[in-house]
């Protein structure tokens, strides 16, 4: 099987996971979160295979490069990182419900990547400006940061849901972790995201300076501006917003 159908399948598996979680929430059936968790595991496994296969295919086409070079690939990678970080949190803190707020985000990213008519899923050759080992370091760190923020966003929604009735111990709200634990978890996620986005920006800047001829003139202002990008809304904006700016963030030119 080639990578494209594999990634379409993973879109549906993420959809199934999101659906199970939604059902768990809406029909107040905590039991459903267990199969949902394993569905996320399956989705992450399929996505991993899809990404690796796409990487291999690009080499078979003679234009080998890591699949991180356009909007389609970056959305898939985003869904993957969100899934991976979620699973890490899940197996560390053992609260499957967190996935209820992460799976839909991963699903939306995958769905947008594969369904939007403006996004091509063809493997394209790399433009000269992106041919660098820095690409992987830069994109991977940036996206780990983004995914952490996405999860922090999901946890904050849980927090808000929980505040409505913090004492309730049964039902679905009872399955949400306690407020102080959620608070701490969200805080950790934001710190993690902040650290990784910082590293991502730094790798971008070092890349720009050491390889692609755009120096850091007037850079400090930008640095601080980027560093203060904490909210998920702002994250979304920078992610899609970079496409509006001229430059080398090539996923803008789909």
């Amino acid at each position: 099987m080639s990578s494209s159908p594999l990634l379409s399948i993973s879109t549906f598996v993420f959809a199934l996971a999101a659906f199970l979680y939604m059902a768990a929430l809406i029909f107040k059936k905590p039991k459903l979160t267990l199969p949902a968790r394993w569905t996320v595991v399956a989705a992450v496994v399929v996505t991993t295979a899809g990404i690796l296969l796409r990487w291999v295919e690009s080499y078979q086409m003679g234009i080998g490069h890591a699949p991180l070079s356009n909007l389609y690939e970056s959305l898939v990678f985003f869904a993957w990182t969100a899934g991976v970080i979620y699973l890490f949190v899940e197996f560390k803190y053992k609260n499957p419900l967190i996935g209820a707020f992460v799976a839909p985000i991963a699903f939306l990213a995958m769905a947008y990547a594969s369904m939007s008519p403006n996004i091509s899923d063809r493997i394209q050759p790399l433009i000269p400006a992106l041919k660098s080992n820095w690409l992987i370091a830069h994109v991977v760190t940036c996206f780990f940061g983004y995914a952490a923020f996405a999860i922090a966003f999901g946890m904050s929604l849980m927090y808000l849901l929980k505040t409505r009735n913090p004492e309730k111990i049964d039902g679905i709200i009872g399955h949400i972790p306690k407020l102080d634990i959620l608070d701490e978890l969200t805080h950790r996620m934001v710190l993690f995201g902040f650290l990784f986005l910082t590293v991502g920006i730094i790798t971008g800047a070092v890349w720009a300076n050491s390889a692609c001829a755009r120096l850091m003139r007037g850079w400090q202002g930008k640095q601080i501006a980027y560093l203060s990008v904490l909210g998920f809304a702002a994250v979304l904006f920078t992610y899609f917003g970079v496409n509006l700016l001229p430059g080398l963030h090539s996923y803008g030119k789909v």
Partner: protein, 398 residues
């Protein structure tokens, strides 16, 4: 802002300095016993026995451990991660490094551009923004420029073979591509753009002026980027100029055009509509390729080769390119990089390490001892709660 950071950091640091760098921290037991989450237990053993049991528990987990004995009991105190309090100052220091690095770069560095035709050498570059001329103490020679395309026509690689000539000798040779610059004496030379040389620089046989034709090959050179683009334009059909520079339409061919009373021979008359501005008529004499440069617009238009010639196959080997290089020097970059390392280290320390203190207060009563235990962390309080819980279990078990 940097001043603000320095002043505030020094102000706060002078406060925490003693706390961080003291050999013997002062132990104020009430800080721990008064906490709402302090735990107590009673034990039949007397204070000295309990110290012997508890001290190893603390000493094993905490790098620093002291026991203070008094008449009515003992206090065991342990702490670790004191230095993690320095994390925020490292972050602040990193910002200062980056700012100074940026300043050093903008005062003592430069960023310029130069276009070098294949086979030629130069030591003068034009500084970006100001447009000043800057002389290097060596020459850059472009031995060759190659453009490789993918099958789709998208660019695959721009490669310039450069030689550095100093004191009349070639001292360094390197092929540069976009992500692989040449560095020489602290100066970086990046591949930045390229273009075809204007026709008059090309060794090409003279051809007689052609008559009117249906379509012309036009060459647009953007002034902002220095890039050249070739497009075919049919008479009357507007073409889009790349880089959003507007539209151009060839309106007519004139066999004997004049410009300000001067006879310029065969010429095209066109209409240029910039993206934001008024349309203007442009005259392009076929004989004078450089004519449109005089206009001083954002884009220079040259009628490339003449229509009849198009049908006789062109020898691409004859095409000459120039390479567009970016030449920079930034002596502040190592300061900025130091700042980068510090900010990552500082954030890591601040986010993931904490200063943890625990204290066991043992009061000797008549028949038994009362033990009060509590822990404090300046960050990651939830984790600290778990640690104190485990420690307390270990204490009750021993």
């Amino acid at each position: 802002m940097p001043i603000n950071i320095v002043v505030c950091s020094i102000d706060r640091l002078s406060g925490s300095w003693k706390l961080i760098f003291t050999r013997k921290p002062k132990v104020r037991a009430e800080r721990f016993t008064r906490r709402s989450d302090a735990r107590t237990l009673t034990d039949k053993r007397d204070a000295e026995e309990l110290v012997n049991v508890y001290e190893p528990l603390i000493a094993r987990r905490y790098g620093y451990c002291t026991v203070t004995r008094s008449n009515d009991g003992a206090v065991i105190y342990g702490e670790k991660g004191r230095l993690s309090r320095l994390g925020v100052y490292i972050v602040h220091l990193s910002v200062i490094f980056m700012l100074i690095g940026g300043l050093v770069g903008s005062f003592f560095g430069f960023e310029g551009f130069v276009n070098i035709p294949e086979g030629e050498a130069t030591d003068t570059i034009r500084i970006r923004n100001t447009g000043e001329i800057h002389r290097l103490d060596f020459q850059i020679r472009c031995d060759d420029f190659n453009l490789a395309l993918y099958e789709t026509g998208a660019p695959k690689e721009y490669r310039s073979s450069l030689s550095i000539i100093a004191g009349g000798k070639a001292v360094k040779q390197k092929d540069i591509i976009v992500n692989d610059p040449l560095r020489f004496r602290g100066i970086n030379i990046f591949q930045s753009s390229y273009g075809k040389l204007p026709p008059e620089k090309m060794p090409r046989p003279e051809t007689p002026a052609p008559g009117p034709s249906e379509a012309y090959t036009l060459n647009f050179t953007s002034r902002a980027s220095g890039m050249s683009y070739t497009k075919t334009a049919r008479v009357g059909a507007p073409v889009d100029i790349p880089e959003g520079l507007g539209k151009f339409v060839v309106m007519a061919y004139e066999a004997d055009a004049t410009f300000r009373g001067m006879d310029v021979g065969a010429a095209l008359i066109g209409m240029l509509t910039p993206a934001d501005g008024e349309a203007a008529e442009v005259l392009l004499p076929l004989k004078f390729a450089n004519f449109d440069k005089m206009r001083g617009g954002d884009v220079m238009i040259v009628v490339d080769n003449q229509p009849q010639e198009k049908f006789t196959p062109q020898q691409p080997a004859e095409e000459r390119y120039y390479t567009g290089l970016q030449v920079t020097r930034d002596p502040g970059v190592w300061l900025v990089y130091t700042g980068f390392v510090l900010i990552i280290a500082g954030c890591f320390v601040t986010f993931y390490l904490s200063h943890q203190q625990v204290c066991i207060v043992i009061e000797q009563l008549l028949k038994n001892s009362r033990v009060t235990f509590a822990g404090i962390a300046n960050r990651n309080k939830l984790a600290m709660k778990n640690t104190t819980e485990k420690l307390f279990t270990a204490m009750t078990d021993s």
